[in-house]
């Protein structure tokens, strides 16, 4: 296949990806969008097989069989609740691939001094550096969400100085390569340093901020892919990679904005640093007492309410309680109770996490209220039923300037007549900070697994 034909075929892929992103923006066309993207990818792979320079097929076929079957099995088997870490994992391997391509390219074209164009060496360094950071950072994000390592920020004195020095060393290695030193060990050092930096950079970020980090690393991988496009003089890589780089960056900014924090604050704020002292103070939970209720008490409150707002969070996702929640909602509606769901943009572990789960449970879209609408409704709500949500309901975000989440927009559930919090225990949320909502006199706690508790509530409401 000639270069011109190849480029036109790659253009078809680019158009497919653009349409995919466009269709992914609407609920009614989103699934089709994903398929169009997949078709674009198949075209790109077929065209690449037909390229003149590609003559050795077995490595490609073996590699695709191994990687593709791993991806398919992992993606099929994963539970809906584990989707965020799956996205992190697949993002990471993409970044790893970009870094390896850079390594191979440098190895192949560097031996003769001066053969490397300046822009090619810059691209190689960028894809090695960004790809490695994305790979290592995504694996740490995966490990945090999978709870292989603790989700709370891991901080130590001088952390930012260590990270800064490491980054400076990596950049120095990169500059040495661009300046003409084409020694092989430099690229290895650059990749190893970037991997280490990726780990160190995500470790101090708390679990509550993981969605923003995954989104950022997703954009990183896109940029790394675009850089490999410059190395290989390949348009489809440049355009597709940069589309992801740009849209991922915008998505990251939007998510940061939803939390009323700058991206820099998310990345370098070492969220939860004040948590140990706050947690100590909150052992007595600021003098207030926690009221525990039985499922029957709560069932009565719900059955005789005029308006109930469900506030789902990660606890609902973990317990897989979304179907039971919908069932409870329908039961209440049948009794004439007005029911809606208040969705915080960053409830759960990913933006839109709650929407996905509730859609799975066939909850009608119009009942899902975004934050501003929901906050208008709380003052006339009889019962706000918080199902495993914590940080997104924490009134400290409004009232306590010392709180690490001060300024984050929250769901004002404490404006409802009464609040019921379903929670496994009194342990703090993922951000590692205490929640004064739990000791509010309006609040009662219903301890237990969210699914069990909801099932008991269903039984309780039926008995009324």
């Amino acid at each position: 296949m000639g270069q011109v034909a190849t480029n036109f075929a790659y253009l078809a892929t680019i158009v497919a990806f653009i349409l995919a992103l466009k269709f992914l923006s609407h609920p009614s066309t989103a699934r089709r969008g994903n398929w169009i993207g997949a078709v674009g990818m198949v075209i790109a792979i077929a065209v690449t097989f037909a390229q003149k320079s590609v003559v050795s097929y077995w490595e490609i076929i073996v590699g695709m069989a191994v990687g593709g079957s791993f991806g398919a099995v992992a993606a099929r088997r994963v539970k809906m609740t584990a989707m965020p870490q799956m996205v992190a994992l697949f993002n990471g391997v993409g970044g790893g691939a970009a870094a390896l391509i850079a390594l191979a390219e440098f190895h192949n074209i560097a031996p003769a001094p001066g053969r490397l164009h300046g822009d090619i060496s810059v691209s190689i360094i960028l894809s090695a550096l960004i790809g490695s950071i994305s790979f290592a950072g995504s694996l740490v994000a995966f490990a945090k969400l999978q709870e292989l390592i603790q989700g709370r920020p891991i901080v130590y004195p001088g952390q930012q100085i260590v990270n800064g020095l490491l980054l400076a060393a990596i950049v120095a290695a990169g500059i040495a390569i661009v300046a003409g030193s084409e020694k092989q060990w430099l690229i290895w050092a650059l990749i190893l340093g970037s991997l280490l930096f990726g780990v160190l950079f995500v470790l101090p970020i708390g679990g509550a901020d993981m969605p923003v980090v995954i989104s950022l690393l997703n954009a990183f991988t896109g940029i790394a892919a675009a850089a490999t496009g410059f190395e290989l003089e390949n348009n489809v890589l440049i355009v597709s990679g940069m589309l992801v780089g740009a849209s991922g960056t915008l998505l990251t900014i939007l998510m940061g904005r939803a939390m009323n924090r700058s991206i820099a604050n998310v990345l370098f704020g070492a969220f939860g640093q004040v948590a140990p002292s706050a947690a100590a103070a909150a052992a007595g939970t600021n003098g207030g007492a926690v009221r525990a209720a039985t499922a029957d008490d709560v069932a009565v409150m719900l059955a005789y309410a005029h308006k109930v707002v469900f506030v789902p969070g990660y606890g609902m996702a973990v317990a897989q309680a979304q179907h039971d929640v919908r069932q409870l909602a329908e039961l209440l509606e049948a009794r004439g109770v007005e029911v809606s769901y208040a969705i915080h943009p960053v409830a759960g572990r990913m933006p839109g996490h709650m929407n996905v789960l509730l859609a799975e449970a066939n909850v009608p879209y119009p009942q899902l209220k975004e934050m501003d609408d929901a906050n208008n409704e709380f003052p006339r709500t009889d019962v706000a039923l918080v199902i495993g949500a914590n940080d997104v309901t924490n009134p400290d975000a409004r009232n306590n300037q010392g709180s690490p989440i001060y300024g984050m927009p929250i769901l004002n559930v404490d404006e409802a007549q009464s609040v019921v919090v379903l929670k496994r225990s009194m342990s703090p949320g993922f951000a590692g900070i205490e929640n004064p909502l739990f000791v509010n006199p309006k609040t009662v706690m219903l301890f237990g697994d969210a699914k069990d508790s909801i099932e008991q509530l269903i039984a309780g409401v039926k008995a009324q």
Partner: protein, 124 residues
């Protein structure tokens, strides 16, 4: 084509792609943020093309073969896993005609994803 000329075209399309990327997703409702992230995640699996170009070369040494092969494995996992996970998420948005059609229409109207214009629920 000279190298500098090629580079100038490449930079041009790069810059256009940046603007297009921003433009395409500025209208996405929060509802679709997770699937969108997952979908773009699948799209950057395009690095598989780069991996294929590296490992598909006729004359290459062991290091290139091994590194390229691993790159193909990783990129394939990204592509297949990315599209399958996205499809599984979107499977849940299957048609519930009246609400979803209205919702889509409104999302088109409310350009910056502002939720304030959404109608009250049909209950009561």
């Amino acid at each position: 084509m000279s190298h500098a000329l090629t580079l100038s075209f490449e930079v041009t399309i790069l810059v256009l792609a940046i603007f297009l990327g921003f433009e395409l997703i500025s209208r996405v409702p929060t509802l679709l943020h997770t699937p969108l992230m997952s979908g773009t995640n699948a799209i950057h699996g395009i690095v598989i093309v780069g991996a294929m170009l590296v490992v598909g070369l006729g004359h290459k040494d062991t290091l290139t073969t091994v590194v390229g092969l691993i790159a193909v494995v990783l990129a394939s996992a990204n592509v297949v896993g990315g599209f399958v996970v996205t499809d599984r998420m979107l499977e849940m948005f299957k048609k519930r005609e009246p609400p979803s059609a209205e919702r889509a229409a409104q999302d088109g109207a409310a350009a910056d994803g502002d939720a304030s214009k959404r109608e009250a629920p049909p209950t009561q």
